[in-house]
């Protein structure tokens, strides 16, 4: 960083010897004729320019990039015009990627850390692999391979199946995704209605009416670039302009750019969606064919010798717009108008939130996700142009069958460390719960962290520091010494996405596609791809592990898995992208409809191609439970009501009056390392004119009542903690909500991230939702006072 220089010292400096030459030259130049100089001006550039295609990893979108390598240095990234998600565009994170590659705080070799002293020393990859192999073998020899766990975040392409295979070969079910922090609520909403556990794909380009529930569409979300492309095409790329309505307590950029912003009371999205369903049903504007031929539980029905309540009567009895107005704060006339517009401007689509979404928090969030997705079903927008599509993939060759292994078999049958499927019956993953479970006695011997920094990124992350003390051996694959890597025994830095091999499923458009990531330059440092490292470990372990992983490198794994996509390896390397554009719609009721579109992932109810308005999965799980049991899950309904989406008052954490919303920014995004990219830190506070610092957004009315002024330093306090940050007043925000941006307040990572602002997650409820294992992101109430 340049030294701080006052104007006075600057003038002195100018007079100093070095600058005097410059000044003299400038004066000489100043007297030369401009025209003569201009005639002489010519381009000076690099001698050797190469363009290497790849895929960005700075968020979950996976945009195709073209790296310009000038004389061996990566000097610029452009979006790849071949890649259908970004179509040549590239967001600020991708543009700033050279600051990731050449970051001064990157780890340059594998490190071993002494827990007693905290000192680290460099070790070789061979030593590291031998050490990991020894620990894994010990866990297996002891008959407890389930004591090995891997927490993972953004795994791309074949990475997830590769890591998952590794964990299976070791014999542990503990392969835990961080999706319980972000997209799991949306996926559960999909599972309990449409019967597939996957993120929906929205055909935004062709939609005439977009209704977004809490999805921070233009800043965060699981695929921000995809949303932006669809959004702007719908505005100006076609003869008719679409209408976009944003339902979110915070206006943000999406609300500002939309046609209408509905500042809903937080935690009441289910009621609003059901209020709209009421109007659509009452006005007979629903898609009768879909509802009657391809759905279950719309009307009352008979089963097990009794009559069950269907969605239609349940909604008509409970959610008339006047009542919904009381719950949501949205006027009944607005609800009726939105419902009418939605049902008569087809194709229309109702969007679920992902990261930055407002549904995670309580069972209400899952019911809300169901209710929102049911709006799509009501107007017949499932599997239609301008509606909701289902992501398709290339069929890839299966990995060879795993060798039979009694130890692994026993381990895989063990309960998961996060309690998914047991403690949290509906959860696939409960990332944040791992700390509690370890502290409560789940024995973990070895923990891998891949793109996982739970100490920072989980509400109440400090408990992970305690949990880590109980885990004897922790391995982090982080490229930076982040808050979690600081507690690891081995830190095995991965190269950045510009220095390694990898692939990407192109997701978000429906049709299948593969993008290839390849090294733009050779790794700068002594780093290794995590997959390559695990291959080395498997080899050292020998036996079933070595048999399960016959490949020499991860690149070989990719070549094996991608051999049948219809594109040879050399051409794929050259183009970077291979896809089969054009979404194949499944015919309602046809074979693909039943196998792929509706009901595919149901476990406890029929896969009959019927969309559930009455969730048979939920009924199987909860239908017979008594009132007390349901109350402990936060559900006030009984019997049929548990299977139908409805509004539940979310339990509140803290006795403050302001709901705290920790939101994700376009600039800093979801990944820890972005906070150490100086340009992203500099531009992060654009909406309020802040830089290099976090802030608390508050409505000016609320501030007036609390006696606070813009730019005051304030304490924000919840039962979980207390942080001090700068207050910024924002009119376009509900008065009962305050916001803190995510990815500030790091205590580690590097010089640019460290000690810049506060981490709002420290204030959030550290609990997990009892049924689904979702992190409680949205039910914290804080107090704000002048510091």
């Amino acid at each position: 960083m340049a030294e701080k220089i006052s104007r006075r010292s600057f003038l002195k400096l100018s007079a100093a010897a070095g600058s005097a030459v410059l000044a003299w030259e400038a004066i000489q130049n100043a007297f030369a004729p401009v025209e003569a100089q201009a005639a002489d001006a010519h381009l000076v550039t690099s001698e050797n320019d190469v363009i290497v295609p790849g895929v960005c990893t700075l968020c979950t979108a996976g945009c195709g990039v073209l790296a310009r390598v000038a004389d061996g240095r990566v000097v610029k990234l452009e979006g790849s015009p071949m890649h259908p998600i970004n179509q040549g565009a590239l967001c600020p994170k991708g543009q700033a990627a050279p600051e990731l590659l050449y970051n001064p705080d990157r780890l340059t070799s594998p490190l071993k850390r002494d827990r007693a002293t905290g000192q680290t020393e460099a070790i070789s990859w061979d030593e590291a692999a031998a050490l990991v192999a020894e620990k894994l073998s010990a866990a297996r020899d002891a008959g407890h391979p389930e004591s090995v766990a891997m927490l993972y975040g953004n795994t791309r392409g074949q990475q997830r199946s590769f890591f998952s295979r590794f964990m299976q070969a070791v014999g542990s079910p503990n392969f835990v995704s961080k999706e319980s922090l972000n997209v799991a609520a949306a996926k559960l909403g999909m599972l309990l209605t449409q019967g597939i556990y996957a993120l929906p794909v929205y055909d935004l380009e062709n939609s005439n009416y977009i209704l977004s529930f809490g999805a921070n569409l233009l800043e965060a979300g699981w695929n921000p670039q995809r949303t932006i492309s669809g959004w702007t095409y719908g505005r100006r790329g076609r003869p008719t302009r679409n209408k976009i309505v944003i339902i979110d307590p915070r206006q943000g950029i999406h609300g500002a750019k939309a046609d209408e912003w509905i500042p809903i009371k937080p935690g009441t999205d289910a009621a609003l969606a059901l209020g709209m369903a009421y109007v659509i049903i009452k006005s007979n504007l629903f898609d009768s064919e879909f509802v009657h031929e391809y759905s279950f539980g719309f009307d009352d029905f008979a089963a097990d010798g009794k009559t069950h309540k269907g969605f239609k009567n349940f909604v008509l009895e409970n959610y008339d717009p006047q009542k919904v107005e009381q719950i949501t704060g949205v006027p009944a006339t607005t609800i009726a108008r939105l419902a009418g517009e939605f049902a008569t401007n087809k194709p229309a689509v109702a969007i679920l939130p992902g990261k930055g979404g407002l549904l995670n928090g309580s069972i209400e969030g899952v019911y809300a996700a169901m209710a929102v997705h049911m709006l799509n079903a009501l107007v017949g927008s499932i599997e239609t142009k301008g509606g909701v599509l289902t992501q398709q993939y290339f069929p890839l060759p299966d990995y060879p069958a795993l060798p039979s292994d009694a130890v692994a078999k026993k381990g895989l049958a063990a309960e998961r460390v996060d309690g998914a499927g047991t403690l949290f019956p509906l959860a696939r993953h409960a990332y944040q719960a791992v700390a509690d479970r370890v502290l409560e006695g789940y024995p973990l011997e070895v923990l891998f962290l891949y793109d996982a920094n739970p100490v920072y990124e989980v509400p109440g992350g400090a408990k992970f520091v305690e949990a880590f003390k109980k885990i004897p051996f922790i391995v982090s694959f982080s490229s930076f010494m982040d808050e979690s890597a600081e507690h690891a025994d081995l830190i095995l830095p991965e190269p950045t996405f510009l220095e390694r091999w990898g692939d990407d499923h192109i997701e978000g458009l429906g049709y299948p596609g593969i993008a290839l990531r390849q090294p733009a330059i050779a790794p700068l440092y002594d780093t290794m791809d995590a997959a390559d490292f695990l291959l080395k470990v498997a080899e050292k372990m020998g036996g079933t592990l070595a048999k399960a992983f016959p490949w020499k490198s991860y690149q070989e794994v990719l070549q094996f898995r991608l051999k049948d996509i219809g594109m040879d390896w050399e051409t794929l390397k050259e183009l970077g992208v291979w896809l089969v554009p054009g979404y194949r719609y499944a015919k309602r009721g046809g074979e693909r409809w039943v196998n792929e579109i509706i009901g595919r992932d149901r476990a406890k109810s029929p896969r009959d191609g019927h969309f559930d308005f009455f969730s048979r999965e939920l009924y199987a799980l909860l239908g017979k439970k008594n009132k007390a049991d349901l109350a402990s899950l936060g559900i006030t309904q009984l019997g049929d009501g548990v299977a139908l989406p409805h509004h539940e008052e979310a339990p509140v954490f803290g006795d403050g009056e302001l709901m705290l919303n920790v939101f994700t920014l376009m600039s800093l995004g979801p990944k820890t390392e972005a906070a150490n990219m100086p340009t992203l830190m500099e531009i992060s506070g654009m909406t309020v004119g802040e830089t290099w610092n976090s802030w608390l957004e508050m409505n000016p009315e609320t501030a007036r009542e609390l006696g606070l002024k813009d730019k005051d330093m304030v304490w924000v306090e919840s039962p979980a903690g207390k942080v001090k940050t700068k207050l910024r007043l924002v009119k376009a925000l509900r008065p009962d909500v305050v916001n803190i941006p995510y990815n500030f307040g790091h205590t580690a990572v590097g010089r640019f991230a460290k000690n810049r602002g506060v981490n709002g997650l420290e204030l959030l409820n550290p609990a997990s939702e009892p049924l689904t294992g979702l992190a409680a992101f949205t039910n914290t109430r804080v107090k704000v006072s002048k510091s």
């Binding site: 400038a26 010519h42 000076v44 452009e78 670039q225 492309s229 009119k731």
Partner: protein
């Protein structure tokens, strides 16, 4: 002779700031120390900001409030006030309408930063520095000559810099065409911000060509220029929202 112009459709701009960062990486604008950035001395030739700048001053009262966002490169005025106040000819408008900045001639008087009504001129209070190895990513492209230093070239202490519509890219595209023995086409040249725009809100081209996209868009009923009444005649043209 082309007349270069940029059109920005605010209906498609989603204030993502990709233009700001693309510009920085392409043109080697330095990251100033955080304390300096807080004083408003960040060097972003293309900045994105809310209108009004202080969100508390938004017009309307909750919930009838709508924030607006603006993105602002150099206007490349046809009648640029900045060049009139430059005592040394360091900034000038070339035949193709680009307002250039020659670091080699600039004496750092900062008249131009005051003369520019759009605030798009930035002064180097420091010698630009990058902590090792960040300097590795610096763009090697620059425009040089006897007494000429322009484009992404590393700036000396105490000179003014500004958006040049990525003039080195124009030189490069022309050199490429020449090397291939053919005529240069206007669509071969596009500034970094236009190329990266996530919402495809930016268009670039020749305003003298009646068939170019920018000419067509400039005639749109939605088009406007910033501070038109000053008579600066910007060639960066906006299309309003809605």
């Amino acid at each position: 002779m082309p007349k270069w112009s940029m059109v920005i459709d605010l209906d498609k701009c989603v204030a993502c700031q990709a233009c700001s960062v693309a510009c920085r990486i392409e043109n080697n604008t330095p990251v100033v120390p955080p304390e300096e950035a807080e004083l408003g001395r960040a060097m972003r030739w293309n900045d994105v900001f809310p209108m009004p700048i202080n969100p508390t001053e938004e017009t309307g009262e909750y919930p009838k409030v709508k924030t607006q966002y603006m993105t602002r490169p150099c206007m490349h005025c046809e009648n640029p006030p900045c060049i009139k106040v430059c005592p040394v000819g360091a900034t000038f408008i070339n035949e193709e309408g680009i307002v250039e900045q020659n670091y080699a001639r600039c004496i750092g008087c900062r008249f131009c930063t005051v003369g520019c009504p759009y605030g798009v001129r930035y002064f180097n209070w420091y010698k630009p520095e990058w902590e090792a190895p960040l300097a590795e990513h610096l763009n090697p492209d620059r425009v040089e000559g006897n007494g000429v230093l322009e484009g992404p070239a590393e700036r000396p202490l105490g000179v003014v810099e500004k958006c040049t519509y990525c003039i080195h890219r124009l030189h490069k595209a022309r050199a490429q065409a020449e090397a291939e023995g053919r005529d240069f086409r206007a669509d071969e040249y596009v500034p970094a911000c236009v190329q990266t725009c996530t919402g495809k809100a930016r268009f670039f081209g020749d305003l003298d060509d009646p068939n170019s996209t920018v000419t067509q868009l400039a005639m749109s009923s939605r088009s406007f220029r910033l501070l038109e009444d000053l008579g600066t005649h910007p060639k960066t043209i906006y299309l309003r929202e809605g």
